[in-house]
Symmetry: C2
Subunit: 267 residues, 2 copies
Amino acid sequence: MSASAPIGVFDSGLGGLTVVAALRRTMPGESIVYVGDTARVPYGPKSPETVRRYAREICGWLRGEGVKAIVVACNTATAHALPDLITFAGVPVIGVVEPGAEAAVATGAQAIGIIGTSGTIASGAYAKAIWQRAPHLTLVSQACPLFVPLVEEGWIEHPATRLIAREYLAPLLAAKVGTVVLGCTHYPLLRTVLAEVLGPEVSLVDSASATAAATREVLRAHQLRAPGDGASATLRVVASDAPEQFLRLGQRFLGAAIEQVERVTLG
Amino acid sequence: MSASAPIGVFDSGLGGLTVVAALRRTMPGESIVYVGDTARVPYGPKSPETVRRYAREICGWLRGEGVKAIVVACNTATAHALPDLITFAGVPVIGVVEPGAEAAVATGAQAIGIIGTSGTIASGAYAKAIWQRAPHLTLVSQACPLFVPLVEEGWIEHPATRLIAREYLAPLLAAKVGTVVLGCTHYPLLRTVLAEVLGPEVSLVDSASATAAATREVLRAHQLRAPGDGASATLRVVASDAPEQFLRLGQRFLGAAIEQVERVTLG
């Protein structure tokens, strides 16, 4: 495996581009191939077996492209498929749950809220990862299944989004959580509304930066950091379905321009 | 092809069960195999090519089960894939758009609103079908992409659903439409909220009954009506992914109990 090979990153759709943005900030010298499985988005309400099958297909495709490591930039896929992918992929695989849990515990809050898709919440993956580090913490989990469709539609600060957020977050407010883990890579785009509903006392933790830092450590440990200063680093964006909004909204997630979105058929 | 074979019916998810309910009312003697493609739901925001590929895979599977006709109980799949499926399927194929357009024109309204997924609205399928029958009518189309996730989540009469409906339907109210076509098989479940927002003067037309009547005519024309009185008619429900809510919500769509949901892998 060559250190100059790209890092593979995938998500069910657009959300994982927030992780790509963090990876580029942390390691500007690394090339990235990003896959958004827009033909089968969303993963959140789907069963663990189906999500595992999709994740394996994408990892197989990424391996065919010669990636040196794979970042599962999707909380649902991490929650359901990470152990399976670690066995299957043949390259280092990094998920978003452990780094996110680590960052949440580091805030020092005594009560932590966890929000995510139905799949992520039902898996208990964040609760397990947090309690392994700090078994005394109070955790409040809440599935927020409408947040992904709202973000994919671009309704980032819509009154309906605010109303839905108020309902989803009520149990977290009642439990007086000090920190909320954004357990879905789509949720950082709802930060303004979430912060408004939760109030200024509550810290919002997303996995993107923590996952980027963890990826850097894994690459170092495997002596797989890209040589050079990043002048030749590339970003290739691939989607399994290519509606116009992928390019349009994708730039918002990435915080930078995307030149083109290639299309591949998965599965 | 045997007249005692079942009718195949499919949709991206739960919505098509509203068509199954109408088929059972219209033809209690017919057995039905229903496929909900829950592993890839929703179809609405996906591209025409991807929806065509999924529709073909499902029709191939239904043919393998020996169905005598196929009802595309999904507006997005009808809009994108019907001509393709008619060529491919080898049995009569009935879509929901033409019957729905027919029923809308029959209301006699001079201005008609059409609501549906992004894919259905972008295809212009309803507008084409209505203008072919009545070119003088005023049509107002509105994509309502959040309605499917709201229904799939069971938020049928939630204040957020009402708020979103008010925003989506504003252009239809401004144009003083007399009839609104529910151009998505999920939308009949939102009938209460839609009627409340649109007011008592507006007729709501859904394709389910009209499609059932059209199916009866097609079967008659092909001498494929099931013999007998329906005592032995069966309903088999199959899904490509089986989250718990399929069974739970499915009964609401069908208006009757579902005994079990089988799982098949498509694609």
